[in-house]
Amino acid sequence: MPSSMVGQTPSLTGFLKSLKQNDIENSIELFISLLKRRQIKNSRPCAIATTHLLLRVVAEPKRKWDAQKLIARVRNVGRRLIAAQPREMAVGNIVRRVLGVIREVAERDEDPLTDSEFSGSASPITEEFQRPALPTRFSEFSPLHGAAAMPHNMHSGRPGTADSVSMDLGGTPQRPALLSTNASYAGQGPPGTSLFSILQHPQGRSPVATPPPGTQSPVTGPSPSRRAIGGEIPEKLDIKAEVIDGIKELQDELDVVDNQIAESALDHIHSNEIILTHTSSQTVQKFLLTAARKRKFTLFHAEAYPNNHEATHVTILNGAQGEDDSDERWKPLTSLGITVILIPDSAVFAPMSRINKVILAPHAVLANGSLLAAAGASTIALAAKTHHVPVVVLSGVYKLSPVYPFDTDELIEYGDPSKVVPFEEAEFTDKVDIVNPLYDWVDCDLVDLYITNLGGHAPSYLYRIVADHYRVEDIDLNAKLDAVAKKG
């Protein structure tokens, strides 16, 4: 029983506090029900809660993990969390990131050749953006397309048989075909020599960008001298500790993500510009505040009625408040001498011709560069397109999901209609269906630039960041288990 949540509505803070006392299974169930009841919602709180929960899962006392067991466990927990609220993509993203961390630790562990130099940059967060390891295959990012649908022919030219065995143990029955899908994506596939071999020998490849275990062959390994050093330290890594470190780094990333994004504010916001934004997003506020310290601009703020307008009003008047219930409040933009004009969502078209830049905060960013954002974002993006106003999206990498939007309707959550028409208006509500979509889907061609904590990217480039951060085998958490089940 969660004893710290006495007589109060459960929330993120309550959940984080209760984590310490509850045992793990209880915490998982509690988080699932909080997700279902929407008592933890929005990307950041979900991401924070997920990292904390997974940290507890990994750090489970009296439990010795070997890598495969740990992967299976985290995957299993992840699956349950995602099933509870599939539209909070941040949960799935974090689960996949953690799985990536584990896999990477496991690989280092199994391959003693990898040396500490690599472990230094072990976390996906700290790595500088480097060349992506492999061409990505969009179509498989969707959970709708199971691994079963992929051809399995990519074991050719891979010497490491031992590795492939371990890979099988890891619940990775077949490494999804690289080239064939690449070919299907590109329309014409170069026969697996030239491009592939180039990609097989990247220099200074980041560990996160490491292709799945099968490619960790001696050929791509470090230099012989390093190998010798590595051979002298056969000691096994403490997987648990390593993974915990990795998760902690993820948590750090979540803490600093807004600041990192805000750092590039001055590159994008110039003096005397007119900016339009939407919703009370913390990230956007921080970004604008950073710019406002140096430059003067005018802000049009669309209020995001009916689901977010109250928060928006508060933000404009009193400054943004942390979403994770902290008391920290930032100064409102107006106190820095910025003119803020509040407009209803329906009015965004009128001022659009004067606006220099639209800044949006997404709920989730999808693999193809499209995004989900608070309802109203689509109107804004379309209006911006008509007037050729650049649309800039500020998003932490944790919001970037490997999911491909096949059915955009499915991704949108519908909320409580009483926000649109009050419950008391019974005679009206009896006769009409009222819908209150919480999110809008904005297609990738309406977005001009993504600013993440790694820097600015074109929407068409996002797939490479996806490939950097998520392991191919983790993208579809359900399919893999089926495959394992079939094997077992």
Binding site: M1, M5, T9, G14, E29, E410, E424, A426, I434
Partner: protein, 698 residues
């Protein structure tokens, strides 16, 4: 339990666990025939049992201990809960089922008080509440008030809903008179349909409060925050049954004396409703499906095994639904797992459970079809409820308002008329609440080869249901607010309901000068029924006679009944019990022996003198007139009574000579067989007397 003075210091407050009580039994039979076989809280709404919604809401509020009070169908409730996630280790609260033999909310409350389970303030809800209202503020307000005054014993949480709302109880218009400054409820009344909407507000109320709000736009879904003091109040007044008419009304009336106050907390966001009538069932389902109760919508998949997905137009489908290509399922429908719908069928605005098979060219409109039901080809179903495993044949027509209960089979080509209730089971007459027995199939209703019969209800309930479908707002319903029915014995029940009606009404119009004699008469009738029911019940369960006696005494004191009323009640109860035993296959002699011998003390306590004995026998005789084998029973009773010295010769003689005992032919006939006993006894007693006299003389 003496209400413990709660320490109100902040640190203690924080440690206090939040408790809640779910009243799982409805103590009413508005959902007949479904509630014959299942408790109301396990009926499904949008394919999820009602109690799940309640528990989910309690969990979302942060409750840590839940007690489920249940009277009827306790086993089913317990089995369900034991298999649900609420009793697992991972449950957010600990849950305990409190078994009680309660027949009203009042009984359940008194039971709780006796058991002393409640440590502090607690939330009390019914097992059929669907809510998503935020509760922190209400609790905070309640606690703040408690700190100021210990007399604030209860807070009612009410949802604002405008004048007309489909979810609001249309026919009991509940009026709350509230002092907006302190949120105190100063007067409560229910306006009956078709009576002039006149409130009878006490004078003091108008004098004492500068400003009052009179509100009739509130949905009262029975969510209350109780204090232990309130529980003690329930215990103090053991005739209170209903939380609103009896409890709230009673406490408010006694305000002058005790100064206890009841407060309200009016919510204007979120959703709260109680599924207490079929009409409410209909409205609430619509609300849930159109997401007013968000996040408690089907696609939230609250239960672990659910997999609903939302599609355009509030259409929810679970995995594995099979739709024929030419079938149409349109807006506001819910389809459960593995349900299949045949070619050319049209489903509109309906909820269909799991594993249902809907045939070809079927039309289903606004209907509720629960799990595992089958509907044959070319059938039309309009606004009806088809329960689990029921089967409807081909080319049938189920008209508006029909209720088809569990496992009923309707043969091909049958038309089920409007507002018919078809069931396979009926309640055993005059027996325990839970007992149901299989009824005789009536081919006129279900067709040849069908199974089930028509369940007829009192006029007023019929109206109730019509109300649900027709949506008529002008109702002529006479049952009372939270209408109690304890499912006991048929004929008495009806009278009871009718006689109860005016009394409770006069309770709310206290200052109206009422017809005194009529009132007393009704009071007598009420006492008689209650007392004889309870004695009969005791006899039936073979309770200790002392226990029965005690209960009787309590009833006597509450109603201020006279001795002869008690005798009448006892006589009638015994005669019923005997008749009941004879029906069960005993001979008259055995029956009399079983009924009377262990309970001699009961009779002795109320008949002492000869006059009283005669009266008792007279009551018995009168009652036996219309019972089977009445004369034989009377003979044996007289024999036993005399044999065991409960009645002496004088008593018998007085009875025999009483002109009332030969007033009609029937009475004469009944007592004819008893002649020899009387003769013998009378003779004996005379002899005794003679002897005594003689001895005195000596």
């Amino acid at each position: 339990m003496a209400p413990k003075a709660r320490k109100t210091g902040e640190p203690l407050e924080a440690k206090e666990t939040l408790q809640a009580v779910i009243i799982a039994d409805s103590y009413e039979d508005r959902f007949l025939p479904f509630t014959l076989e299942r408790p109301r809280c396990l009926l499904t709404l949008a394919n999820m049992p009602l109690i799940e919604y309640t528990c989910e809401w309690l969990a979302s509020v942060g409750v840590e201990e839940v007690f489920v009070c249940s009277g009827n169908h306790t086993d089913q409730v317990e089995t369900y809960l034991n298999n649900s996630r609420w009793t697992k280790d991972t449950s957010p609260f600990s849950l305990e089922v409190v078994r009680s033999t309660s027949t009203s909310v009042g009984d359940a409350m008194r039971d709780l008080d006796q058991k002393g389970l409640m440590k502090g303030d607690f939330i009390c809800v019914y097992g059929d509440v669907i809510a998503n209202i935020p509760f922190d503020a209400a609790l905070k307000a309640h606690r703040a008030r408690r700190e100021k005054s210990k007399n604030a014993i209860m807070t009612m949480v009410l949802r604002e809903a405008g004048d007309y709302h489909r979810t609001k109880d249309q026919h009991h218009r509940r009026c709350f008179v509230i002092d907006p400054e302190t949120d105190r409820c100063i007067h409560y009344e229910q306006v009956r349909p078709r009576t002039s909407p006149r409130l009878n507000i006490p004078e003091e109320v108008l004098k004492d409060h500068v400003e009052i709000d009179m509100r009739e736009d509130l949905i009262d879904c029975g969510i209350d925050i109780y204090t232990p003091d309130a529980l003690a109040q329930w215990s103090d007044s053991f005739d209170w049954k209903l939380p609103r008419q009896d409890f709230v009304h009673g406490v408010l009336q006694d305000f002058e004396t005790f100064g206890r106050t009841i407060h309200t907390y009016i919510v204007n966001e979120g959703y709260a409703a109680r599924v207490n009538t079929l009409r409410a069932y209909d409205a609430t389902t619509k609300d849930v499906v159109s997401r007013w109760a968000f996040p408690y919508c089907p696609d939230t998949n609250i239960l672990a095994d659910q997999s609903y997905q939302l599609q355009k137009g509030n259409l929810y489908k679970e995995d594995g639904v099979v739709l024929a290509r030419s079938s149409t399922v349109s807006h506001r429908s819910v389809l459960g797992k593995a349900t299949s719908i045949g070619e050319g069928s049209v489903i509109t605005n309906s909820i269909i459970g799991r594993r249902c098979v809907i045939g070809r060219r079927v039309r289903v409109e606004n209907a509720y079809i629960w799990d595992d039901a089958r509907v044959g080809d070319d059938t039309v179903i309009e606004t009806a409820v088809i329960a689990n495993e029921a089967s409807i044949g081909k080319k049938c027509h189920v008209k508006r308002g029909a209720l088809v209960s569990y496992g009923v089979r309707i043969a091909d080509g049958v038309t089920v008329e409007e507002n018919t209730r078809i069931t396979r089971f009926k309640r055993k007459r005059g027996y325990d609440n839970n007992e149901v027995c299989q009824g005789v199939t009536d081919p006129k209703v279900v067709g040849e080869g069908g199974e089930g019969f028509r369940l007829d209800l009192d006029e007023d309930e019929e109206y109730m249901y019509e109300a649900m479908l027709a949506g008529a707002q002008e109702l002529n319903v006479t049952t009372d607010g939270d209408g109690i029915s304890d499912f006991e014995s048929g004929d008495e029940e009806d009278e009871y309901a009718h006689s109860r009606e005016p009394t409770s009404r006069s309770g709310s119009f206290t200052s109206i000068a009422s017809d005194e004699s009529g009132e007393t008469k009704r009071d007598h009738a009420k006492f008689h029924r209650e007392a004889s029911d309870s004695i009969f019940d005791g006899l039936q369960r073979e309770q200790d006679p002392d226990h029965i006696q005690l209960e009787l005494q309590a009833q006597r004191l509450t109603e201020n009944a006279e001795d002869n009323q008690i005798r009448r009640a006892v006589a009638v109860a015994f005669s019923r019990r005997i008749a009941n035993l004879i029906e069960g296959g005993r001979t008259a002699k055995e029956a009399v022996a079983t009924a009377i011998l262990p309970n001699q003390r009961l009779i002795k306590a109320c008949v002492k003198e000869a006059g009283e004995q005669a009266e008792f026998l007279l009551f018995l005789q009168t009652d036996l007139v219309h019972r089977a084998q009445g004369s034989k029973v009377l003979l044996h009773v007289a024999f036993v009574l005399a044999g065991e010295d409960m009645v002496d010769g004088d008593g018998l003689e007085m009875w025999w000579e009483d002109p009332r005992s030969v007033a009609t032919e029937e009475l004469k006939k009944v007592r004819a067989e008893t002649q020899p006993v009387v003769d013998q006894m009378a003779g004996e007693s005379e002899d005794d007397d003679d002897e005594e006299e003689e001895s005195d003389d000596e």
